[in-house]
């Protein structure tokens, strides 16, 4: 019998080394970078909530339902028409950009692949991402607003131009992530290409496509520049997509924040908070939907 104490205790503790020191340093750098990124985010949220909450929620829900005061120096609530306008413009933009974008991405990824035409389209789509939003607004002003006047739909077109490349890009990425063996399985059963895309590829990519599209929606909802000269500045409710001047939260923030009257400035902060909440809601819906669909599998 060997005495257990005869063998020395095995030492499995980490040895002090430059590698572990480096590890600690890099962890510190990364935490620092995160804090640095989080500071502006928290600061923005804090200033919007602290200055906007009073206006937005005093006499709830007056701020969200009342019309905008005709004379901007008057204090008091009213962002209803702008909320309706933002929702309307965004809805119109989504209806244009999401189907077009998904169809475009399906073409690029499934049919065009690396052909000259699809490379050109892909390149143009990337260029389109870089076009300043005010240029899009100007473009729509010239082709639409000068002919048909102010309307929510004009804003929708401008916004759709901004969303389209985002939807195309994210959808194509999602299609790339669909495992090739799923396509093979469908082909091996005698499924045609179009049917494979409709019944296997798109359902598999759906959660990603939906969240990508909704993120594009959330981003576009906050755009100001393309709306400035396409939708007008109505102070009353207008629920028509095509007819007459409308309004939007982002445009209201711009106009009211430029005003020298305290009442208008308060409304700008209230509108800012409303817009943040709205985009937050859209993003949350995107997340919840994606999680639901993902869980089903």
């Amino acid at each position: 019998m060997i005495e257990p104490s005869a063998t020395p205790m095995l030492d499995l503790r980490a040895r002090p080394s430059w590698r572990s020191t480096k590890n600690v340093i890099m962890c510190g750098v990364m935490v620092g970078a995160f804090v640095l990124v989080a500071i502006p985010l928290v600061a923005v949220l804090w200033s919007v909530i602290s200055r906007g909450a009073g206006t937005a929620f005093s006499g709830f829900p007056a701020f969200f339902t009342k019309e905008i005061p005709n004379i901007s120096r008057l204090p008091g609530p009213g962002m209803g028409p702008a909320i309706v306008g933002t929702l309307l413009v965004t809805l119109g933009a989504t209806l244009i950009a999401v189907p077009l974008g998904i169809l475009g991405a399906v073409y690029l990824h499934e049919y065009g692949r690396e052909s000259k035409f699809s490379r050109l389209v892909r390149f143009m789509s990337v260029v389109m991402t870089g076009v300043p939003s005010i240029v899009m607004g100007l473009f729509v002003y010239v082709i639409w607003t000068m002919r048909f006047g102010y309307s929510a739909f004009g804003g929708s077109i401008a916004m759709a131009c901004l969303m389209l490349p985002i939807v195309i890009g994210s959808t194509e990425q999602m299609l790339q992530l669909v495992p090739p063996h799923l396509r093979e399985a469908a082909y091996a059963l005698g499924t045609t290409k179009s049917r494979t895309i409709l019944t296997v590829v798109l359902p598999a990519a759906l959660p990603g496509i939906v969240s990508g599209s909704l993120l594009a929606v959330a981003r576009a909802a906050g755009e100001t520049a393309p709306l400035l000269f396409t939708i007008g500045a109505a102070t009353q409710f207008n629920t028509h997509l095509f007819g007459g001047a409308n309004n939007a939260l982002s445009a209201q923030i711009f106009i009211n924040a430029n005003s020298s009257f305290a009442g208008a400035q308060d409304r700008a902060w209230g509108a800012a908070l409303t817009l943040v909440l709205l985009t937050f809601a859209i993003t949350m819906i995107a997340r919840v939907f994606t999680a639901r669909v993902a869980m089903k599998r």
């Binding site: 396509r183 093979e184 399985a185 091996a188 059963l189 005698g190 499924t191 599998r297």
Partner: protein
């Protein structure tokens, strides 16, 4: 001694036939058997088949005949073109950009690569089971019903019938009948592979191509898939690619040995068919030295 596992016991009651302990045909090559195997109709007739990926010639000059209701096994070292040849049987190369098949693959006398031939029609008749189980991220039921639906079956009762029949032929029905509408991704690897086999036979193909169907499975699941192949043989013609020589010996009537050789001109390794014969012949008495070296483990 512990008591026998009740689950194993009930399975053995269901399938009473004894499992063969080794190669079934090595010792059994009577003239009557040869005559029977020889007289089977030819399903595939390959002449001078070559497969290219872009400029790279992956396989050269394959000539062989595949016979009806028999299991033909492709063996050989990695990179010798077994899978490549298998995929030329149902035009699966069409979906790979740059892949091209030269020579003739005749299916019941019709050249599969003729100008009028539709790949989807070909694949409806010639199904394929892949190396990695690849169920769709749908329910078990929808996986099986996918093919019939594609072929226009809409009737719910008919679909139910096809699903049950296919799952029964894949020896999977009793395991999944209570969760047909649960996700197929929740099954074990062996079950997923049998589901893929069930999905393939749900469209009633004539031929089932299997590309290393057991390489991702444990020995028990492998044995079940092999049992399944023997049962399916009565209705289907099966071609199986395998890295497992014992498997080829256990299940197949005929075996083709492929290898890869350095092409002097292009300095690339190109696959070729070395020897194709009855499995018993290949394993007991191969004609070619390369075959003998491979099956005795001296090479590959």
């Amino acid at each position: 001694m512990v008591d026998a596992n009740p689950a194993t016991e009930s399975r053995e009651q269901r399938e009473p036939k004894p499992r063969p302990n080794g190669p079934s045909f090595v010792t059994d090559l009577r003239p009557s058997m040869i005559a029977m195997l020889e007289s089977a109709p030819v399903v595939f007739d390959l002449s001078h088949v070559e497969v290219f990926y872009g400029a790279f010639r992956a396989v050269r000059d394959v000539n062989m005949k595949i016979h009806k209701n028999q299991i033909t096994a492709f063996i050989g070292p990695s990179g010798c073109g077994k899978t490549t040849v298998l995929r030329s049987f149902n035009r699966m190369h069409d979906v790979i950009p740059g892949a091209r098949v030269a020579g003739e693959v005749k299916y019941h006398g019709v050249n599969l690569y003729g100008p009028e031939v539709s790949p989807t029609e070909v694949r409806r008749r010639i199904g394929m089971v892949f190396q990695k189980p690849n169920p769709f991220p749908k329910s078990i039921y929808d996986n099986i019903a996918f093919g019939p639906r594609v072929n226009g079956v809409r009737d719910k009762a008919k679909l139910d019938e096809i699903v049950e029949k296919s799952l029964r032929s894949a020896a999977l029905w009793d395991e999944v009948k209570d969760r047909l509408h649960g996700s197929a991704l929740g099954m074990s690897g062996g079950q997923q592979q049998r589901l893929c086999i069930a999905r393939t036979i749900a469209v009633e193909p004539e031929v089932v191509l299997m590309d290393e169907p057991c390489s991702a499975l444990d020995p028990i699941a492998t044995a079940r898939v092999e049992d399944l192949m023997r049962e399916l043989k009565d209705h289907y013609t099966i071609v199986i690619v395998t890295h497992n020589m014992q498997q080829a010996a256990r299940v197949s009537e005929r075996t083709a040995f492929f290898t890869a050789e350095l092409d002097k001109k292009s300095e690339q390794r190109t696959g070729l068919l070395v020897e194709y014969d009855f499995t018993s012949k290949i394993f007991a008495n191969p004609r070619d030295e390369r075959t003998e070296n491979y099956i005795t483990g001296r090479f590959g």
